[in-house]
Amino acid sequence: MTDGPLIVQSDKTLLLEVDHPDAEAARRAIAPFAELERAPEHIHTYRITPLGLWNARAAGHDAEGVVDALITYSRYAVPNALLVDVADTMARYGRLTLEKEGFADSVDGTGGTQLVLRTTDRPVLEEVLRHKKIKPLTGERIDDLAVVVHPSERGSLKQELLKVGWPAEDLAGYVDGEAHPIELNLADWHLRPYQQQAVDGFWHGGSGVVVLPCGAGKTLVGAGAMAAAKATTLILVTNTVSARQWRDELLRRTSLTDDEIGEYSGARKEIRPVTIATYQVLTTRRKGVYTHLGLLDAKDWGLIVYDEVHLLPAPIFRMTADLQARRRLGLTATLVREDGHEADVFSLIGPKRFDAPWKDIEAQGYIAPADCVEVRVSLPGGQRMTYATAEPEDRYRLASCSDAKLPVVQQLVERHRGEPTLVIGQYLDQLHELAELLEADVITGETPVKERQRLYDAFRTGEVSTLVVSKVANFSIDLPEASVAIQVSGTFGSRQEEAQRLGRVLRPKGDGRTAHFYTIVSRDTVDADFAAHRQRFLAEQGYSYRIVDADDL
């Protein structure tokens, strides 16, 4: 029995004792195949999943290495069943491969290439070909070990194969796309080491997902990938604001000029060598038809970048299935999807190519340290009675919009006067009330893009130090100097929202100040229950948080 830092549990979680001298070595050994699930202060929890193991296989690790890592660092004997399971699962990846093969046409003697699903193990091919959903995706049999696949079914086939537990390794390669010169403009900056690693990891893997925390510079990883591809690029982002920020960032960081970057959104429909499109415009339907699908074929794209891949709407997955011949880069802060579509990300975008724990990047000084505080307020007597007798569906709103929160927000804003402060909420009434009280501007979904841009710019320059924002600000707005966030209400217990909001304050500050993240909740209500859920996420990400009473502020 060794005295290793790792404990392997029977539910396939791995507990890593952080303070152990071998912890770092063990972390490096298990990171390729185990997903970091929780990273509180002493013991980190990793989970072994089939997807994780296949990710590892895709990255070139073999079962022996995985088993070896487990046995080497494990404190107690590793259950044999688990080792067997790991080996079995990993052996499933790569039994089927998608390849491009030349063929000679028997009719006119001309040749060509075709996409072929090939196996080294005939029963596996027989098994999958008998599947009702897989059969129609394949064409004629070439021999016992191979079958023709129509190029357009490449994505759907990979998706279905993953569902039946036989993920195919995609070796069919990528089209180069239309070449377009893109260089990084490295005069006054350079890629951080982990960003460079992410770009390299992606480029060598071909397609895949890069996982980086908010504020760690995902846009730059995208730019790096574009510079590596030197081809026309389609960038898919969540909303217009985000699109503008990508554009600004690309102009600043690369050799691209204003004329080379197009925006394809509700407002503008430009198609240029680098085109930035929003999810929303792509998923717009008229009479049941996606009207903007043509964009995907408008150019011979060499690279497709998916920003915030964990938010990618299901229809885009379907469209993406047709884009399998192009390089795809997914950028995200978390692989966790509240809708559970992780497997689609794996099969359609690609395996995870780079991942770094938040805390590590924070420790390297690239994102700001954060101080998370939960402030508890008591509902006044009258409201408590109203709350107690309210219908269950109204309770959350009642609790989170309590008047009792207002003075606390005011007090906090007062305390951090001068620092860029965001007040984030869910309910418009409450936001307007707060804006009035704090004499600050409000940004909601109704605010025109121009106005939003103006306010953001003002906030960035320090002209405005306090903004009240609704959940439109959750995604992809870049407020470099926000150092205080006050959350008054949220979308129930969404972990992903919590990550995004925390991301608002994690961007590195010029002076290395600590960021503050306050959540104000009403005691003894569902608000507190949801808050607990969200905080658990924070604690699991390694952020210690405190709980204080409003009276003790």
């Binding site: 029995m1 029977s10 929890t45 494990s74 107690y76 259950p79």
Partner: protein
């Protein structure tokens, strides 16, 4: 069959003490009840029941040799010359026993296809083993004879071979005088007939004639040439002689005299893995006790655990159903849970569980492992349809009882123990080996039982990564060995307690060291990086929910779990203190906040029990009651101005209040007035069955037994010698009633009577008497000396009339 010069009885009487001990150890059924002397031992050894047992215990090697011996010498049709395979039977005079040794051997070797010297030595060793277990007896010239009952037990078809031709049709004149003739006939058979013969060659030797014409024609040729013999209208048999000729003189298609090798692969960390599994099982049992202790599941009518409760338990333990059933059955086998025997019976932990937490882990494991090895219950049957039952077997139910599983477990353990340490067997090879060991056991018995046993052994920690662990080896040593002619049953000399000690000690060395601390983190989890010790373990189980199990345990503090601890009587301060003391790391602030938050709300609403209330609209009456000193024993307490409660029984309350001048009446639950009766309750007496006492047939016992037999034999010889010298007939033991009537007849007919009278020393004296009166339980008679004497009838062991 040549007339035996001697018998099994003679053989056994001629065996040495150590040979006798071997015999009884190999066939323990001979010793129960202890036979009177060696003659009766021999008689018992040749009973059908005992021979059946002995034959069933044979492995394939021994069985094949025995079959060959039966075919060889078991009937009049003798086999031809040695070294001439394919030699057909000849009607020949029985060989003289003088050349039986060599001829025996040669024919045997041919039958078994053992031409080389080495193989012959193997056969001879096997023959020797069969003699040792008393299935063969030896004549004067070391010629071996099969015990008479063996062919009966093996049945009419030995190794798929039919009966000899003259047994099938005694009247038939054999057409083939010798082997050449038979072979020539067979070679001359037309192709379809030949195919038909080949179909029957390796058995069964009985065939049903095909209804088509073609088939009938084919068969007719064979029948006419006496290669087949009709036994019924549409049935034919292949005579033994023809069968052997077709088999080229060999008896078995494949002769496997030696056990097939078990292929193995080396594995490392066996003991550590086993220790881990054992530790996990102990945790599961702790949790099972906790879950069932709090909410014992109902026992269903047939005595098991309902499917729903099993699923619930599986969910509570975070196991799949199969594994949960195993944990439950193990707990039952180790008597940690039992049916409580109440009117509505439930499955509850037994009082053994209470000592459990203070017992060292190895000593907790030993009874589990021993219980498993000794149990006749097969957890893998849970959830399957067993036998004729229409519904699936319930855990703890009667359908899970399957005695064969115990034998399989032991065999598997012994096979594993025979391998080098650190070698894991290939399951298929192991299955082959077990089939070889017990060829007469239906193969279906092993079908999934073997897999189940291997899986259970792994769960239990008896094996680790497929190889037997050190504790598993200790367990195997503590069990009685298999009864086979070669591997003799040798039980451990020590007491059962000693066995448990050894097993416990072996496991203790490999269990993960217990830890006495947890690590509490900001996400409100606490991780115990190893098995927790007694009181801390139960505290953590109470105070937090288990989230992940294995080498370590991850606990999560939730409002519900904290409330549970507060409900159990912990105060917030104690709670935080205990966690702080047990934690290696400083407590995160949210944890303390959680506890105080729950504590703040805890107990705002109060609930209590009272067995009676007193209500009155007149508050002053209640005041008086509260003030009355004589009513103090009632412990009246005021809940509201017009309500008092008391812990006393309502009837007592009514009585006492009446005695003190109040005039209460009693209300029923619906508020109506009731008149109470005095209670009359009885508790049922409980009987407990005495535990069964097991005294194994072991070396000590057998040695004593054989010594006794030897002495008995000696005294029997002596008695025989004495009896031969003295006058008068043998006096049978007769019933007193028979004796009395015989004596009365003798009185009436003035006949002489030989009687046996037990004297004061316990011996039996013989007298020839002429009785003349039988009265009042005594008989008056004239004895040999002409003296008048009287005898008590109850002293007379037997009587027989004097033969003139």
């Amino acid at each position: 069959m040549p007339t035996p010069r001697r018998s099994l009885a003679d053989d056994i009487r001629g065996r040495s003490d150590s040979e006798l001990i071997d015999l009884v150890l190999a066939r323990p059924d001979l010793a129960r009840p202890a036979p009177a002397d060696l003659t009766s031992l021999a008689a018992r050894a040749s009973t059908r029941a005992s021979v059946q047992r002995a034959v069933e215990a044979l492995d394939r090697g021994h069985l094949q040799v025995l079959e060959a011996l039966v075919v060889d010498g078991g009937d009049p049709g003798d086999l031809g010359d040695p070294g001439d395979p394919g030699d057909p039977p000849r009607a020949e005079s029985p060989s003289s026993s003088a050349d039986a040794v060599s001829r025996d051997g040669e024919r045997l070797f041919t039958l078994l296809g053992a031409p080389t010297k080495g193989e012959r030595a193997v056969v001879m060793a096997l023959v020797d083993d069969l003699w040792r277990v008393g299935l063969l007896w030896r004549g004067d010239h070391r010629d071996h004879h099969v015990v008479r009952t063996v062919p009966e037990v093996l049945g009419p078809t030995v190794a798929g071979l039919g009966a000899p031709i003259d047994e099938l049709r005694p009247s038939l004149t054999p057409r083939h005088r010798d082997a050449e003739a038979l072979r020539a006939t067979i070679d001359a058979a037309p192709a379809p007939s030949r195919a038909m013969l080949e179909k029957m060659t390796w058995g069964p030797a009985l065939g049903v004639l095909p209804p088509e014409r073609a088939g009938t024609t084919t068969a007719r040729w064979l029948l006419e040439n006496h290669l087949l013999v009709p036994v019924a209208a549409d049935r034919v048999a292949l005579p033994r002689e023809v069968g052997l000729a077709l088999r080229s003189g060999r008896l078995h298609r494949e002769t496997t005299l030696l056990a097939p090798d078990v292929t193995t692969r080396p594995v490392s960390l066996v003991d550590a893995v086993a220790g881990g599994s054992a530790s996990e099982l102990l945790t599961h049992l702790d949790e099972l006790a906790a879950v069932w202790g709090a909410e014992p599941p109902r026992a269903v009518r047939t005595g098991g655990l309902s499917v729903r409760d099993l699923k619930g338990t599986a969910t509570a333990l975070d196991l799949d159903v199969d594994r949960a059933a195993f944990v439950i059955e193990i707990a039952y086998a180790a008597r940690l849970v039992a049916d409580d025997g109440e009117v509505v019976p439930v499955w509850a932990p037994t009082s053994e569980v209470d000592d459990w937490s203070t017992t060292e882990a190895g000593h907790r494991w030993a009874p589990l492992a021993l219980g498993w090895a000794r149990s006749t219950r097969a957890p893998h049957l849970v959830g399957r349809k067993v036998g004729s039952g229409s519904s699936a077997a319930n855990a703890l139910g009667p359908d899970v009882q399957w005695p064969a599983i115990r034998g399989i477990r032991r065999e598997v353990l012994h096979e594993l123990a025979a391998l080098e340490p650190g070698q894991a067997p290939d399951p298929d090879a192991l299955r082959e080996r077990l089939l070889w060991r017990r060829p007469l056991r239906p193969a279906s018995v092993l079908s999934d039982a073997l897999d189940a046993v291997l899986r259970e052994a792994e769960w239990l920690g008896v094996t680790g990564r497929g190889a037997l662990s050190a504790p598993g080896r200790a367990l195997s040593a503590a069990l009685p060995g298999p009864t086979s002619p070669r591997a003799r049953a040798v039980t451990s000399g020590g007491s059962p307690d000693g066995a448990a000690q050894a097993v416990a000690a072996a496991m203790s060395a490999h269990l993960p060291a217990p830890v006495d601390h947890v690590l509490v983190q900001a996400d409100l989890t606490a991780v115990a990086p190893g098995p927790l010790e007694g009181s801390l373990a139960s505290f953590m189980r109470l105070a937090a929910d288990v989230e992940s199990r294995g080498g370590a345990t991850v606990y999560r503090f939730t409002p519900a779990s904290v409330r549970r601890a507060l409900d159990a009587g912990w105060t917030a301060a104690e709670f935080v203190d205990t966690v702080r003391r047990s934690s290696r790391t400083p407590l995160p602030q949210p944890f303390e906040y959680l506890v105080s938050d729950v504590a703040r709300k805890h107990g705002q609403t109060r609930i209590g029990g009272a067995s009676a209330y007193v209500r009155s609209d007149d508050e002053s009456v209640l005041e008086t009651m509260l003030a009355a000193r004589e009513l103090a024993p009632l412990q009246l307490r005021r809940l509201a101005p017009t309500v008092l409660v008391s812990g006393a029984d309502p009837r007592v309350l009514v009585e006492l209040l009446r005695d003190h001048g109040f005039a209460p009446i009693q209300e029923g639950q619906d508020g109506t007035v009731v008149h109470a009766e005095a209670p009359r309750r009885r508790a049922g007496a409980r009987r407990r069955a005495a535990p069964p006492a097991v005294s194994p047939v072991d070396a000590d016992f057998t040695t004593t037994l054989v010594a006794g037999l030897r002495a008995a034999e000696a005294s029997a010889d002596e008695r025989r010698a004495v009896e031969e010298t003295r006058a008068g007939p043998r006096i049978p033991t007769t019933d007193p009633i028979v004796t009395l009537s015989l004596l009365r007849d003798a009185v009436a007919e003035r006949h002489g009577v030989w009687i046996g009278v037990s004297d004061q020393g316990g011996g039996v004296a013989r007298h020839l008497i002429h009785p003349h009166r039988v009265d009042g339980g005594r008989v008056w008679a004239i004895d040999e000396g002409g003296h008048e004497k009287s005898y008590s009838v109850h002293r007379i062991t037997g009587a027989t009339l004097e033969t003139p």
